[in-house]
């Protein structure tokens, strides 16, 4: 475990260094700014929560494409309750609504044995339609200003790490050391400080909750008997049943937790990342969360990493297009590393192909001064596809994941 942490740390340092070099070359100062890092974190949290939701469901053996729909339900409920009764109750409502979507998924897949992907897609279609219907009714009754947007809710307060990143504790205003370093414009050191400041300062309390969920879910899934039973339902349900585990119950628990987390992620989008619900707010983040789950190989730490990458791409896309343009240089760099690796392995055909892609990317980087807006919005989806295609062969999914289970081994 410790070796792994060190390895991750080393890779992270390398990544920051490369980003610093690219920033230096392109002058895209937003690439490593405090604002970008903080936005990246803000956008990673919902993806992470969806991915973590997927983890609980799929560890119990139920594939959950319905995460998207549960997030939509959560975002809607968050906006709807949030503006009336405050953001915290809004988040509670988001969790409940996400859970309701999950209950539907659980009834269909566990009790009735419907194909998991089919049920999930059905839930996504239903959730999108349901919130549109409900929003229209609320708009017509006069309590909403438009059919696609809820009124503004109060925002949830933020805080930072003491000493390092500012923040306020019991009336004491902490110094902001990292921000001080970040503003010095020292190569690499300031870049690293800015990124650290971004992800440790001005944190919403909900973000803190999300961070706590990592050790919590690790503990629940791998250190408690409940976790063992839940995972056994996803690995070998028949064997688990024979040992007295209530497989249906475990699967229900997994799916419901999954929906609650996805709903929280939706609520986060509505109440923390924004301050109201808006139609299409979720915009595929449930699916990206699922991609983060696959990227992270069904482990909380991996999901966090995946969510971080996708969140970063998302943040750049929202902040400015110059950084996305600079990001192409990062792709060139990553592809070059792959070329070197393939050459070492004497895999010349693959190396040549990768080199062509690298050259094309470099050409595009040099030929185009600024990316058009429509293409910039595509960044997170391209990032997801690219990262998935580079990383998804070593998957180890739960052995009985996605297979409808019926007590007694019947089909």
């Amino acid at each position: 475990m410790k070796v792994k942490t060190l390895k991750t740390l080393r890779y992270a340092t390398m990544l920051v260094f490369v980003l610093a070099v690219i920033r230096q070359i392109t002058g895209a100062s937003d690439l490593t700014s405090v604002g970008t890092a903080s936005a990246a974190l803000l956008l990673s949290v919902p993806i992470f929560l969806a991915g973590l939701g997927g983890l609980f469901s799929e560890r119990a053996g139920v594939v959950n494409i319905g995460l998207e729909g549960m997030m939509i339900m959560g975002a809607w409920a968050g906006g709807m309750i949030g503006y009336k009764h405050g953001p915290w109750l809004g988040l509670v409502a988001a969790v409940i609504f996400g859970g309701l979507g999950a209950l539907l998924h659980a009834i269909a897949t566990i009790t009735f044995g419907v194909d998991h992907v089919v049920s999930g897609v059905a839930i996504n279609i239903i959730a999108a339609g349901l919130v549109r219907y409900l929003s229209t009714i609320l708009y017509k009754s006069g309590s909403w200003l438009g059919p696609s947007q809820s009124p503004d809710a109060q925002s949830i307060s933020t805080n930072g790490l003491p000493v390092l990143s500012g923040g306020k504790y019991f009336g004491w205003k902490s110094p902001d050391f990292l921000n001080y370093v970040a503003e010095k414009h020292w190569f690499f050191i300031s870049d690293a400080a800015a990124i650290l400041r971004g992800i440790t300062g001005d944190l919403s309390y909900v973000t803190v909750v999300a961070v706590i969920l990592i050790p919590l879910s690790l503990f629940i899934l791998w250190k408690t008997s409940f976790g063992l039973r839940l995972r056994s339902a996803g690995e070998a349900p028949i064997a688990a049943e024979s040992l007295g585990v209530n497989v249906y119950l475990m699967k229900y628990a997994g799916v419901l937790i999954s929906g609650a987390l996805a709903g929280l992620g939706g609520g986060f989008l509505a109440l923390v990342a924004a301050n109201h619900y808006q139609e299409n707010q979720v915009a595929g983040r449930g699916y990206i969360g699922l991609a983060a789950l696959l990227f992270g190989n069904y482990r909380p730490g991996g999901i966090l990493l995946g969510a971080g990458l996708f969140g970063f791409a998302d943040a750049l896309q929202l902040r400015d297009s110059a950084s996305v343009h600079a990001l192409i240089l990062l792709i060139v760099f990553v592809l070059s590393v792959l070329v070197v690796r393939d050459l070492r392995k004497k895999n010349f055909k693959k190396a040549a192909l990768t080199m062509v892609f690298a050259a094309l990317s470099l050409w595009y980087f040099l030929a185009v001064k600024e990316l058009p807006g429509q293409l910039v919005t595509m960044t997170p989806y391209i990032a997801t596809l690219l990262i998935m295609s580079l990383a998804s062969q070593r998957l180890r999914m739960p052995a009985a994941d996605g297979i409808p289970y019926r007590r007694g081994g019947l089909r």
């Binding site: 539907l104 419907v114 059905a122 696959l294 429509q374 293409l375 989806y381 062969q393």
Partner: protein, 367 residues
């Protein structure tokens, strides 16, 4: 041959009927929740929906759903799930409209050329997902969803920068008008002969006939050809298929590409039959509704036809709900509840059948 049995017939109808009842209950609750009478809602919908003008619009709504549903059914039969139909049909329609307006050919050949363009574009777009699945192990569910989002961005970018017709001064960005040889006439003359009068708001897409033929081709290819057999084999039991010599990786790639090619056609009924250009107002959501249509129709050409018509009917007739002050979006609730309750009902019936069969078997063994 299967023996004809009353119980089989009853079981076959049981699922759709149960699903219909459940969804009517759910929709009624939704209408009641907005303090309106469900009975009023249904009678208004029925009266408005059965006028000839509405029925024509129903057919026009159903045609693209049906084509897209066939595309999805192809992947379902191969044990895959192409959620990317929305993107494939969008790109197919846009490239077909743009490239098709650049040349003039004799009438029927021009239309065929455009169809080939659209099929190629849709097929290539889906082939990306096929490649990623076969070579890199990326789930086609995730990759096709990402490709949907990419297609949306790409199409608005290409339309705004390269494909837009700059000779017209319209606010609605669109490609150049297709020449007359590429326009499919609507079926109004034919309907007139059958005694249907012209209605305000246009006729019926000519591609309706094409869609029906496509349904027949789909049935034949899937059930009566070697390709169809290999497709179904690699879907229902990949290991057995591989042992018997079917290259299931190749089938996966081909199934996705063919599905994308068919999906590429689904945007054409409106482009070739109505707008004669691709513009910003191109209908969205066809690909997602088509998933529901394919699921509801059980990948069966007739079943999908019926469910496409049902979805079209609900969509068109629900517009009348505005008149009695009910949100027209009610139809989304109806479609959603029909979808979920029907997939559950089909599963319940399937399980009941298995129990029934094993009971009969036990009886036969005893006797």
């Amino acid at each position: 041959m299967k023996k004809f049995k009353l119980s089989n017939v009853i079981l076959a109808i049981a699922a759709p009927v149960a699903a219909a009842v459940v969804s009517i209950v759910i929709s009624s609750v939704a209408v009641l929740a907005s303090h309106k009478s469900p009975k009023d809602a249904y009678t208004t919908m029925w009266e408005f929906g059965t006028t000839s003008a509405s029925l024509m619009q129903m057919l026009n709504t159903a045609t693209p759903y049906y084509i897209a549903a066939i595309a999805i059914a192809i992947t379902f039969r191969a044990g895959l799930f192409n959620i990317g139909v929305e993107g494939q049909l969008r790109l197919g329609a846009m490239f077909g409209a743009y490239l098709g307006a650049m040349f003039v050919l004799p009438p029927v050949i021009h239309v065929i050329a455009i169809m080939i363009i659209s099929m190629t574009v849709g097929g290539l777009w889906a082939a990306i997902a096929g490649y990623l699945k076969v070579k890199r192990g990326v789930s086609e569910v995730i990759s096709t969803i990402m490709l949907n989002s990419l297609a949306g961005g790409l199409s608005s970018y290409l339309l705004a920068t390269y494909f837009v017709d700059r000779t017209t001064d319209s606010n609605n960005m669109s490609t150049k008008m297709l020449p007359a040889s590429a326009q499919i006439p609507d079926l109004m003359p034919l309907l007139n002969k059958l005694g249907v009068e012209n209605q305000p708001g246009g006729g019926v897409y000519g591609m309706l006939i094409f869609a029906i033929v496509l349904g027949g081709i789909f049935w034949f290819v899937i059930n009566r050809t070697r390709f169809g057999f290999e497709l179904r084999a690699s879907g229902s039991n990949p290991i057995a298929a591989r042992v018997s010599g079917v290259n299931s990786k190749r089938m996966t790639f081909v199934a996705l590409a063919v599905s994308g090619a068919v999906a590429g056609l689904a945007g054409l009924p409106a482009v070739l039959g109505d707008t004669h250009q691709f513009n910003m107002g191109f209908r969205t959501g066809i690909g997602f509704s088509a998933i529901a249509v394919a699921l509801l129709g059980r990948n069966n050409p007739v079943g999908m036809g019926i469910s496409a018509l049902l979805f079209g009917f609900l969509e068109v007739s629900s517009r009348s709900l505005e008149l009695i002050d009910i949100a027209p979006e009610t139809y989304v609730i109806m479609q959603g509840s029909i979808l979920l309750s029907s997939v559950i009902a089909y599963e319940v019936v399937r399980r009941y059948k298995i129990t029934l069969q094993s009971k009969e078997l036990a009886k036969a063994v005893e006797a």
